[in-house]
């Protein structure tokens, strides 16, 4: 077997035992890796109805055939579990050295179950698994935890993924951090690890990675790497994703003051261009990446002097315009605090903006905030609230539950502007001005996610009328999910997506050079459709209802007040038509359920009895 290991490592932290499950080449070709394989592991190892923060929830890691090879942007791992934020599948990706460590240790996936009786960290040393006391690490922030563990060995092959105080405190959107700043960021998987009293997973892999045809793999990778220095990735290489700020503002879809508006009057002060000129020190890369999009921003003076972190658009929008913030230094400081505490910048920002709107409307008062006055743009308050969430202090304890639960508790109409779908806070594109993506967000299995549905591309490119919905959007949303799933199962960063002439032939070719497993474009198409259906099947098993595929009231009822999308809402009847057309395109029932025959056709006969109709 090349570039795969054929082995899944199962770890039970209750009994402190582990064993290896052997898996066949056929199984690996079927699930490929990444999000698809991780979801399969969650489906098989988490019993129906499990409490996301209970011992039964399986926290699953999966890599793919490219991890630790020279394939550009191929060193990524997926993490999945039942999400404590949504109760559905929570699937995340993170990049850099950790994936190669899993491969070199000889595994395709890792399943962690149970609950320890005291804080521990797990060390996977090739074939040996040990459980180590984490008393000295508990309470520590993310980067120091990683350094402390690596310092115990003095061996650069040791790679660590860790939770911060947020994960320990079960913040429902806590994340996992590896390699000093890469996060499996969304859906609260850090809380899942924290609930098991596992502070970190460290891996030392020492086995060289073999591939089926190394010369051809190197040659094709080199060509792809060269293309990736050209115009197809220019946006990412020069300004990074923060270049979106001004583009989204022009389109009128830059979420501003908790999605009350789509245009931020001070966008110039917090734009990618402004950051590049005043704060960016260097663009760096994840391991295995020839693009290098990661903009490391550094605040050198003022009250946030010393704050340094990588800044992406999604973090920037959520803690920036969405909180009315025109202080670039304040935004960088808030992001850096999220990263240190190990909490998702997006959910943190959108939850804080919800709280700020509650303050604006008198639903929450200065007393509720412990004396803080979180007016729009008050960066001191925002940075303080980030800290309070990460430590569950004061009102932070309420906000650590996310917008859905916090709004249900506070009430008084605050549900109207709790900007989530299925409990996951929304991404940085106002859905009213991007209605294909509104559909993608409504039906997304992990919630409203720009990484799992690239449906916003048809809106942004203008191939459809982005201000309204229609029945032609169902097939578009299906295609957009499956295109994303190619990258999320093969484990390639999507920033290379435009460097291929034909994704459906070139990626299977790379896969075959790596693994030696023949794969046709049709095989890949079937595999990604299977992956999307498997995630949906998990949700159905966990109690998904048709009403879960819907949007927060603001998008449906509040017309955008100004800018390019002025006056627009997502009309409920158009959203319904789009959702129906999506179910139809997927071959599902009008109720959004998966027919048995469909599951069987996708090779998912083993779960047809669980969820098929």
């Amino acid at each position: 077997m090349h570039s795969y290991s054929g082995r899944i490592l199962h770890i039970d932290v209750s009994s402190r035992k582990s064993h290896v499950q052997n898996v066949s080449e056929e199984f690996l070709k079927k699930y490929i890796g990444g999000v698809s394989l991780a979801t399969k592991l969650v489906y098989d190892n988490t019993p129906k109805g499990a409490d996301p923060l209970g011992p039964d929830n399986a926290l699953c890691f999966a890599i793919s055939a490219f991890a630790g090879t020279i394939v550009p942007v191929g060193s990524k791992h997926a993490v999945a579990a039942k999400s404590p934020l949504t109760g559905f599948i929570g699937d995340c990706l993170a990049s850099s050295y950790f994936s190669a460590a899993i491969r070199r240790a000889g595994y395709d996936g890792i399943v962690i179950k149970g609950k320890s009786d005291k804080p521990i960290w797990i060390f996977i040393d090739d074939d040996k698994v040990s459980f180590n006391d984490a008393a000295d690490l508990w309470g520590m922030e993310t980067f120091p935890t990683e350094e402390a563990i690596r310092a115990k060995f003095g061996d650069e092959r040791v790679r660590v993924t860790t939770i911060g105080p947020g994960g320990e405190k079960l913040v429902r959107f806590a994340n996992l951090t590896n390699d000093r700043g890469r996060q499996a960021g969304r859906t609260g998987l850090g809380a899942v690890m924290g609930s098991k009293l596992v502070k970190a997973v460290a891996i030392r892999g020492t086995k060289p990675i073999t591939v089926a045809d190394i010369d051809k793999l190197c040659e094709m990778s080199h060509q792809l790497g060269e293309v990736a220095q050209g115009t197809k990735t220019e946006k990412y290489r020069i300004l990074g994703t923060p270049s979106n700020v001004l583009s989204m503002n022009r389109l009128g879809v830059l979420p501003t003051r908790n999605y009350q508006e789509g245009v931020f009057e001070d966008a110039e002060k917090i734009s990618g261009e402004y950051m590049h000129e005043h704060y960016t020190e260097k663009a760096v890369a994840c391991s295995g990446c020839p693009i290098a999009c990661e903009q490391i921003a550094h605040v050198k003076e003022g009250e946030y002097a010393g704050a340094r972190t990588s800044v992406d658009y999604e973090s920037l929008f959520a803690l920036g315009p969405n909180c009315g913030m025109d202080s670039m230094a304040g935004i960088i400081a808030a992001i850096a605090r999220c990263d240190a505490l190990g909490i998702d910048t997006m959910s943190t920002g959108v939850t804080i903006s919800w709280a700020m709107e509650c303050f604006q409307r008198g639903i929450l008062t200065k007393e509720d905030f412990g004396g803080l006055e979180p007016t729009w743009g008050n960066h001191q308050a925002v940075v303080k609230l980030v800290d309070m969430i990460g430590k569950r202090e004061g009102i932070g304890d309420l906000l650590a539950e996310g917008t859905k639960r916090a709004a249900a508790k506070v009430g008084k109409g605050s549900e109207h502007f709790a900007m989530n779908v299925k409990g996951l806070e929304a991404a940085g594109y106002d859905l009213r001005g991007m209605q294909t993506f509104a559909l993608g967000a409504a039906v997304g299995t992990r919630g409203p996610c720009h990484n799992r549905s690239l449906a916003y591309e048809s809106d942004a490119k203008g191939t459809v009328d982005r201000m309204k919905g229609g029945p032609e959007r169902g097939p578009l949303a299906k295609e957009a999910e499956e295109f994303a799933a190619v990258f999320d199962t093969m484990m390639l960063c999507k920033f290379i997506r435009n460097c291929f002439k034909d994704v459906w032939t070139e990626i299977p070719q790379l896969y075959t050079y790596a693994s030696g497993i023949a794969m046709t474009p049709d095989d890949l198409k079937l595999a990604v459709e299977r992956a999307c259906n498997l995630k949906k099947a998990f949700n159905i098993r966990e109690g998904w209802q048709k009403s879960d595929d819907w949007l927060a009231p603001r998008w449906l009822e509040d017309p955008v007040p100004s800018g390019a999308t002025k006056g627009v809402v997502v009309k409920p009847e158009e959203l319904r038509v789009m959702i129906d057309s999506y179910y139809h395109a997927r071959g599902w029932t009008p109720e959004g359920l998966i027919p048995r025959q469909k599951l069987i056709a996708l090779g998912l006969e083993d779960i047809a009895d669980d969820v098929g109709v």
């Binding site: 630790g68 090879t69 020279i70 050295y97 070199r104 650069e156 092959r157 000093r180 700043g181 020492t206 086995k207 060289p208 990675i209 073999t210 591939v211 190394i214 190197c218 080199h222 790497g225 060269e226 990736a228 220095q229 020190e281 260097k282 663009a283 760096v284 890369a285 994840c286 391991s287 295995g288 990446c289 020839p290 290098a292 990661e294 490391i296 340094r308 990588s310």
Partner: protein
């Protein structure tokens, strides 16, 4: 290649520009693929070191004149090619004791755990071009001697000055 004749000998070696290096590790991937047909930084003769996310740098043999590794070897297994400066390992004499590794001031020598022999960058002499340089998409790696590096630095400083003046 030597630089001048009336100064201490300087041999060409792989130079890394830390401003351009993004820490992707592809140099190490290319090296282990070329020399061992596997991907494994531990089997690479060039190693990328990243301490902070922002600080990345690759290190390979610097072809020192009067190389300490050669002097340190108790078995005379290492010799320096006087024309290219490259260190040649005699695998029959080397027993993997590691003295050369400890003597190297740059951490540029690798002990192959399988063969128990040391390995040192040879600039891929048989391939015409060091493969790490070929695969470095950011052009952070190039062949140079200290004097060419200094020349390049001087030019960059002055070019920057020129840009600032014209702004």
């Amino acid at each position: 290649m030597t630089w001048g004749s009336n100064m201490a000998q300087q041999f060409q070696h792989i130079v890394c520009d830390p401003d351009k290096c993004v820490g992707c590790d592809d140099c190490a991937m290319a090296c282990s693929a070329t020399k061992h047909k596997v991907f494994d930084p531990a089997l690479s003769r060039i190693r990328n070191v990243r301490i902070e996310p922002i600080v990345a740098f690759s290190v390979a043999c610097r072809a020192c004149s009067e190389a300490p590794c050669v002097l340190a070897c108790p078995r005379n297994a290492l010799t320096q090619n006087l024309e290219t400066g490259m260190i040649v390992v005699d695998n029959d004499l080397c027993d993997g004791c590691g003295w050369c590794i400890e003597a190297c001031e740059f951490g540029a020598i690798l002990l192959n755990p399988e063969t128990k022999r040391v390995e040192i960058c040879d600039l891929c002499a048989d391939l015409g071009e060091p493969q790490c340089i070929k695969f470095c998409q950011k052009n952070a790696l190039y062949l140079g001697v200290p004097e060419t590096v200094a020349q390049k630095t001087r030019r960059e400083v002055v070019t920057k000055l020129l840009q600032e003046l014209s702004n």
